[in-house]
Symmetry: C2
C-alpha cells in the first residue's frame, strides 16, 4: 500500500465525492430541499463531519484554508455568476446596485465598527482592550454581503428579477469596497500612527481597485473573444479558453491587489457575446454545463468546509460582543437600505416598494468570504473572539434568515419571477421602445442610458464585432433567431412523437383551437399569442414569416439609427424579391 504517493489527489477527489453524494442524498427526499435551503443542510453535514473528526482525533479539525478558498473555490462561482448574469436588468439598475454596494457597505462598516466600539467601553463586558481600529477592521470584514450565500438562497426562492439583481449585484460589487477597507484597516492596525494622508490615499484606492478590476477583466475578456476567432479547426479546446482567460483575469487582479471578483465578472460579461458567436453549439453546451457543475461543486465544498471549520477550539465565546455583533449587523443594514432607497426612489419612477426593501435588508447573508478574511487576520490576542463572532453571524444569517426568507416572501406576497419567457410580441415591443427612447434622448440632447446603450451598440457593430467575430455577418435579428429556435424545437418534438414520417407538419403546427384538440397543442410554444389571436390570423402570420424570412435575414436588424434603409445594396435586394415572386407564381 502506497498511500503517501496518491494522497493529495485522492483526498481532494474524496472530498468532492462526499460533497456530491451529500447533494444527491438531500434530493432523494423531495420535501427536505423545499423547506431547508441546501446551504443549511451542507453546513449541517459539515458540522457532523467536523464533530466526527474532532471526536476521533481529539483536536480541532482542519480549518478551510483561505488560500484554497480565494484561489480555487471562489473563482468558479463568480465566473458562473458573471457569465449567466442577466445583463439587461443589471445595467438598468447599475446605479442603484453601485449605491448599495459602495455607500451601503461603507455605511455598514463604520456603523458596525463604531457601535461595537461603544459596546467595548462597557466595563462589565471585559472588552476595553479592543481598540477602535480593530473594531473597524472587524466591521470591514463582517459588513459585506456574501455572493455565495446570497446565490444559494435566492436561487431557490424565485423573487422578481429586479429584487434579485439588486441583492446579488450588490453582493458581487461590494468586493472592491471590502478589499480596500479590509486592507486599509489592517495596515492601519500595524502602523504606529495614522496620518490623514493615508486616509485620502485609501479613498483614492477605491477607484483604482474597482476600475482596475473592470479594466483587467475587459482586457482578458476581449483577448478571449479574439482567441476564439481562430479555433475553427480545433473545436475540442474551445471551451478551455473561456475558463483559462477568466481565471487569468482573476489571478492577475489578485496579483495587483485589485478586486478579483469584479475582474472575473467584467471578463465573463465582456466575452460572453462574442465567444458564443464564435464557438460551436456543442462547445457552448459544454461551457455552460461545466460552469454550472463546477460552481455547484465549489459551492457545496464551501458550505461543507464552513461547517467543518466551525467545530473546534478556535473560538473565544464572549457572548455580549457576539450578540451585539448580530444585532448591529441587522440594524445597520436595515437602516442603510431604508436611507439609500429613499434617495433612489426620489430619482426613479419604478420605485422599490417597502416589501422589496425588507427583503433586500433581510437577504443580506454573510458567508465564506467573511470567514476566510477573519482567518487571514494577523495574530493578535482577540482574534479568537472575532472568529467566534463571525461564525455566529454566518450561522445566524444562513440558518435563521436563510430558512425564514422563503415563508416571509410567501407571507408578504413579494412579486415573483414570471415563469414564462417573454413572447415575440413583448420582444418586439421592448426593442421598439429602446429605439424610440434612444431617438428621443438623442433629439432632446439628454444623455441617458438609452443614448449610451445605442452608442455602445454602434461602437460594437462598427469596430468590436469586426475584430472579435470570426464570421462577421449582418447580425440576425433576435426575432428571426427566436423563430429558428422554435422551428427546431418543434421539429424535434414532431420527430420524437413519430409524426414526421407520415403526417405533414404544417397542419399539426396550426391545428390548435378548433381544427383538432389532441395533445398537439403542446407543440405551440408561444401560448400567449395563441390565446389572443384567431387561428386564421395565426396561420397568416406564420405564412408571412416563413415566406419572408429570407428577406428579413438579409436586411440587418430592424431599424438602426445609423444606417439608412437604402444602404444595403438595393439592386441585390430587388433581385431577391424578383426571385421570390417568380417562385410563388
Amino acid at each position: 500500500l502506497d498511500y503517501q504517493h496518491v494522497q493529495v489527489p485522492f483526498e481532494i477527489t474524496l472530498w468532492i465525492m462526499l460533497a456530491s453524494l451529500a447533494k444527491i442524498g438531500f434530493h432523494l427526499y423531495n420535501k427536505l430541499p423545499s423547506v431547508v435551503p441546501e446551504s443549511c443542510l451542507l453546513i449541517f453535514v459539515g458540522l457532523i463531519m467536523g464533530g466526527i473528526i474532532y471526536g476521533l482525533n481529539d483536536r480541532s479539525p482542519p480549518v478551510m484554508d483561505s488560500d484554497i478558498f480565494f484561489l480555487y473555490l471562489l473563482p468558479p462561482i463568480v465566473l458562473d455568476a458573471g457569465y449567466f448574469m442577466p445583463s439587461r436588468p443589471f445595467f438598468e439598475n447599475i446605479g442603484t446596485i453601485l449605491l448599495y454596494a459602495v455607500v451601503g457597505t461603507i455605511w455598514n462598516v463604520f456603523g458596525i465598527g463604531f457601535s461595537l466600539y461603544g459596546i467595548c467601553q462597557v466595563k462589565a463586558f471585559h472588552l476595553q482592550d479592543v481598540s477602535l481600529l480593530h473594531n473597524l477592521l472587524f466591521g470591514s470584514l463582517i459588513a459585506a454581503v456574501d455572493p455565495v450565500a446570497v446565490l444559494a438562497v435566492f436561487e431557490e426562492i424565485h423573487v422578481n428579477e429586479k429584487l434579485h439583481i439588486l441583492v446579488f449585484g450588490e453582493s458581487l460589487l461590494n468586493d472592491a469596497v471590502t478589499v480596500v477597507l479590509y486592507k486599509l484597516f489592517r495596515s492601519f492596525c500595524e502602523m504606529p500612527a495614522v496620518k490623514s494622508v493615508d486616509v485620502f490615499a485609501g479613498v483614492g484606492k477605491f477607484f483604482v481597485v474597482g476600475l482596475g478590476g473592470v479594466l483587467v477583466g475587459l482586457t482578458f475578456g476581449m483577448t478571449a473573444a479574439f482567441t476564439t476567432r481562430f479555433t475553427k479547426d480545433i473545436r475540442v479546446i474551445e471551451p478551455l479558453f473561456v475558463f483559462l482567460y477568466s481565471y487569468l483575469s482573476y489571478l492577475t487582479a489578485e496579483m495587483f491587489h485589485l478586486s478579483g471578483i469584479v475582474a472575473i465578472i467584467a471578463c465573463a460579461m465582456g466575452m460572453k457575446r462574442y465567444v458564443e458567436a464564435n464557438i460551436s453549439l456543442k462547445s457552448h453546451t459544454t461551457v455552460k454545463y461545466f460552469m454550472k457543475m463546477w460552481s455547484s461543486v465549489s459551492d457545496t465544498l464551501i458550505f461543507i468546509f464552513l461547517g467543518v471549520s466551525t467545530i473546534g477550539e478556535n473560538h473565544e465565546w464572549n457572548w455580549p460582543y457576539i450578540c451585539f455583533t448580530v444585532i448591529f449587523c441587522l440594524i445597520w443594514r436595515a437602516l442603510g437600505v431604508l436611507v439609500l432607497t429613499f434617495f433612489v426612489n426620489r430619482f426613479h419612477v419604478n420605485t422599490i416598494t417597502s416589501k422589496d426593501q425588507f427583503i433586500i435588508a433581510y437577504g443580506g447573508l454573510r458567508g465564506a468570504i467573511c470567514f476566510s478574511l477573519v482567518f487571514l487576520l494577523p495574530d493578535f490576542h482577540r482574534k479568537k473572539l472575532f472568529i467566534a463572532a463571525t461564525t455566529v453571524v454566518i450561522l445566524f444569517t444562513v440558518f435563521i434568515q436563510g430558512m425564514t426568507i422563503r415563508p416571509l416572501v410567501d407571507l408578504l406576497a413579494v412579486k415573483r419571477k414570471r415563469e414564462s419567457a417573454p413572447t415575440v410580441g413583448e420582444q418586439i415591443h421592448i426593442r421598439f421602445l429602446d429605439h424610440l427612447l434612444a431617438g428621443i434622448e438623442d433629439i432632446s440632447g439628454h444623455w441617458g442610458q438609452y443614448y449610451w446603450k445605442d452608442k455602445l451598440e454602434y461602437f460594437n457593430s462598427k469596430y468590436l464585432q469586426k475584430i472579435l467575430l470570426r464570421e462577421y455577418d449582418q447580425p440576425k435579428s433576435s426575432i428571426v433567431l427566436l423563430y429558428e429556435k422554435l422551428e427546431r424545437k418543434h421539429a424535434i418534438e414532431l420527430a420524437e412523437a413519430g409524426q414526421l414520417g407520415h403526417a405533414p407538419s404544417h397542419p399539426s403546427l396550426l391545428c390548435s383551437g378548433f381544427l383538432c384538440s389532441n395533445s398537439d397543442r403542446s407543440v405551440i410554444t408561444d401560448k400567449k399569442l395563441e390565446d389572443t389571436l384567431n387561428p386564421d390570423v395565426l396561420e397568416n402570420i406564420q405564412e408571412i414569416l416563413a415566406r419572408n424570412l429570407y428577406r428579413i435575414r438579409r436586411t440587418g436588424p430592424a431599424y438602426n439609427r445609423h444606417t439608412l434603409p437604402g444602404e444595403t445594396e438595393p439592386t441585390e435586394h430587388a433581385k431577391e424579391i424578383l426571385i421570390l415572386r417568380h417562385k410563388s407564381l
Copy 2:
C-alpha cells in the same frame, strides 16, 4: 505586486494557455498539420521553450515531474481512450491484443535487455560496468509502446479499425506488464542476490496486477453507474461522477501497486453503457466534450514538457549504446510482431496481412511513459546514459516513424477506415449473424466468443440493468434507436432549411431519384440503401417501418434465445394489432 500568492495556479494556467495557443497556431496554416504530426510540432515548441529557458537561466530547464505525469496528465488521456474505445472490435480481437501486450512486451524486454548486455561486453564502448539487471531494467521501461504517442499519430492516419485497435489496445494493456517488470527489476537491482522464488513471485504478480486492475475498475464503474441512478433531480453534477469515479479507480489501483491504466479503462468501458442511459443528453454532451478537451490538453502538455525536458545537462552521450538501443528496439519489435502474428494467423480465418504487420511493427512508438519511468529510476552512476538513450528513442520514434508512417500507409495502400457509418442493412445483418452464431455455438457445445457474449448480455439484461438503470425498460432494439436518430436529424435539417413550416415533410423525405432532383437528396442519410433500391421500394420500406414502429418497440429486442416469442403478454400484443388494424381501416 504579490506574485508569490498566486504563483502556482498562475503558472499552471499559463502553461495550459501556451499549449492551447500553440495548438491554434499550428492549425492556422492548414498544410502544416497534414505533413507533420501535431506531437512532433509540440515537442519542437517544447525544445525551443527549453532552449530559451536554458539560455536565459544558464541551467537545465525543469524536468517533467513523474508524479505530475502519472497522477494528473496521464489519467485524462487514458479515460478518454477507454470511454471512446470501440468495444466490438476490441473484444473481437482481445486475444490477439493480449498476446501482443503480454507476450510481445516480455519478448521485447528480454530481447532488448540481453542484446544491450551483449553490446556492453564490447570493450571499445566503455560500458562494462552496466550489469545485466540494469540492462533488463532499461529494457523493461523502453520496450513498452506508449498509448499517448500511438493515439496522437494513429488518430491522424485513419488506418482500418482492426489495425488501429491492435496497436492501440496493445499500448494500453501492456501497462500491466510494464508495471510488473519495471518494479521487479528495480527491486532486483537493489537486492544483494536474486532467488528463484522471487522470479516465480514476479510471474504470479502479472495476474494480480492485471486482473486486480480490471477488478478495481469494474467495481468503481458499477458504483458510478449505480450513483447516476439517483441524479435525476440534480442534473448539474451528473458529469462529475463519471470523472470522479474513474479517477478514483486509477488512484486506488496505483495505491495498491496495480495497473492504473487497466483499472481506468475497465471502469470507463464498464460504466459507459449504464451512465449514458441514466444521465441527460446535455450532461452526456458535457461529459464527451469535456473528456475530449481535457485529454487533448493533457496530451499537448505532455509533448511540450517532453521537449522542454530534453534540453539540459541530464544526458550522458555514449553514442554506441544509444544507437544500438534504437536499432534493437526496431529489430525486436519487428521480430516479435512477425512471430506472434504467425501464431495468430494459424488460428484465425481473418488473418493479419503482411502490410498490417509492417504497420503494427512500425507503429510501436515510445513516449512520455518511458520518459517518466527513466526519471523515476533510483540514482546510480549510469542513470544519465539511460536518460539520453530513452530521449533519443522517443524522439526517433515520434519524429522519424511518426512523420513517415502516413506516407508509408499511402504507399502500401493499407486498408483505410471506412468513412461512412454502417447502414441499416448491415446492422441488421451483423445482429442476425451474432444471434445465429450464438445459437450454433450453443447447439454444438462450443464455448466461443458468441456464446459468452450472449451469456453476458443475458446476465446484463436480467440483473445488471435492473440494478444500475433508473428507468428499467424493455431495451430498445438498436435498429429502432437508429431510426429515431435519423428521424430527429432529418427533422432538424428540415427546420434549418426552413421547409418545415410550409412544405410537408413526407414528400421531401422520399423525393430522391425521380420525384425531384434538388438539394433535398442530402437529407436521406442512408445513401447505400438509396443507391441500390428503387425509390418505390424505399417508400414502401419507410411506410412499413413508420406504421409498425409501435409494435417493434413493444416486443423486445428482435430474437433472444432466452425468451420464447409467446412470453410477452400475448393478449396485449393481440390488442395492439387490433387497434392498429382499426386505425388503418
